[in-house]
Symmetry: C2
Subunit: 208 residues, 2 copies
């Protein structure tokens, strides 16, 4: 159940996967996207920031949108790391699952709403079904599965329902707290209280 | 807990609320939106379909977008009626709540994906925070609250958790099965099985 630590291969990427320049391009692009937005950033500006030619950047990415997807993958990967880091602590599985809702909510809000331009970038990615977003959805399901297994092993959770069914169902209940479009609709209300209420019902539903 | 049967007052509407012409305009507009899309339909074409002047239409709606919101409200209202009709049957509250997930899924899929142009119309409405959509979200929460109350009255569900908290939490778990953007991402998988798995956990969580 451990997540693979190697970097995800995303579409539109070229050349050596592990290369310091690839990371520098993604970091420079992220800064540009944060300050000027995706639409107003050009590959040539990213190249200038790094004192390289555009042609050199195209050795690593075949388009601006491929760079954008890598930025998106990096940011979502940060959320995934936070989820895994907490999922592996020594708290009870129930506590860890409840915390998962809150971590997901806090990190997603920070990612999507501290900077509206990144929100728009991810909504674009959702419409285009980016691989980085599918990967994030998979990780949330893996974290749910891991925690359900942990709770079954410790005797906290029931063991009759097929694990896969339960993991998918639990991950489905994360949606209002991690999806940029749903989060936006929920901003008027108390999302943290709602996340906690969902966690309470789900934990009762899982309990042995 | 009964829903108000009177028509919802939506923004951009003018003149008499109860008027046969208002309904005829909304029906004619819906046909146009289904066949040609929202963007390609003009108020003058809707007027021609009804053999009236555009000026006459503007006595009821102050813009094309106000007509569009009324169409959207009508369609979502149809889903709401189906939810209430089932919620008031004599089955157990648990059965009715499980059916709510499936009815919501089936009706939402039919509305959003039988005709892609309507999907786009509702996504536009979500972005613009239309009152008709907020109303639909409220109704889903009212149905959830009604069924939780029914299950508490019959002794099927626990009564300790505050009703409002539980109703909001249950309604949150409907999201992946009623939201056009989330439904679209789920189309690859078995949404009905997923809805059933969520219903199973939630019902366990609610049980006395």
């Amino acid at each position: 159940m451990e997540p693979a630590p190697e970097p995800q291969e995303l579409p539109g990427q070229r050349g050596p996967q592990q290369h310091e320049m690839r990371e520098r391009i993604v970091r420079a692009a992220e800064q540009r996207f944060r300050h000027y937005g995706y639409g107003k950033t050009t590959v040539s500006e990213i190249a200038t920031d790094l004192s390289v030619s555009s042609a050199y950047i195209y050795k690593f990415f075949d388009s601006k949108i491929a760079i954008c997807e890598a930025v998106c993958g990096n940011l979502l990967g940060g959320i995934d790391e936070a989820l895994w880091a907490d999922a592996r602590t020594s708290r009870t599985a129930a506590e860890r699952l409840r915390r998962t809702y809150h971590i997901l909510l806090e990190r997603s809000l920070a990612m999507f709403f501290d900077d509206r331009r990144l929100h728009d970038m991810v909504v674009t990615g959702l419409e285009q079904r980016w691989a980085s977003i599918s990967r994030h959805i998979e990780v949330m399901e893996e974290v749910a599965r891991f925690l359900v297994q942990e709770g079954r092993a410790s005797g906290e959770f029931e063991r009759k329902t097929p694990l896969d069914e339960v993991a998918k169902a639990v991950a489905s209940t994360f949606s209002p707290f991690c999806h940029p479009v749903l989060l936006e609709h929920g901003l008027d209300g108390d999302l943290a209280a709602r996340a906690d209420a969902v966690a309470t019902i789900v934990l009762r539903g899982l309990s042995a």
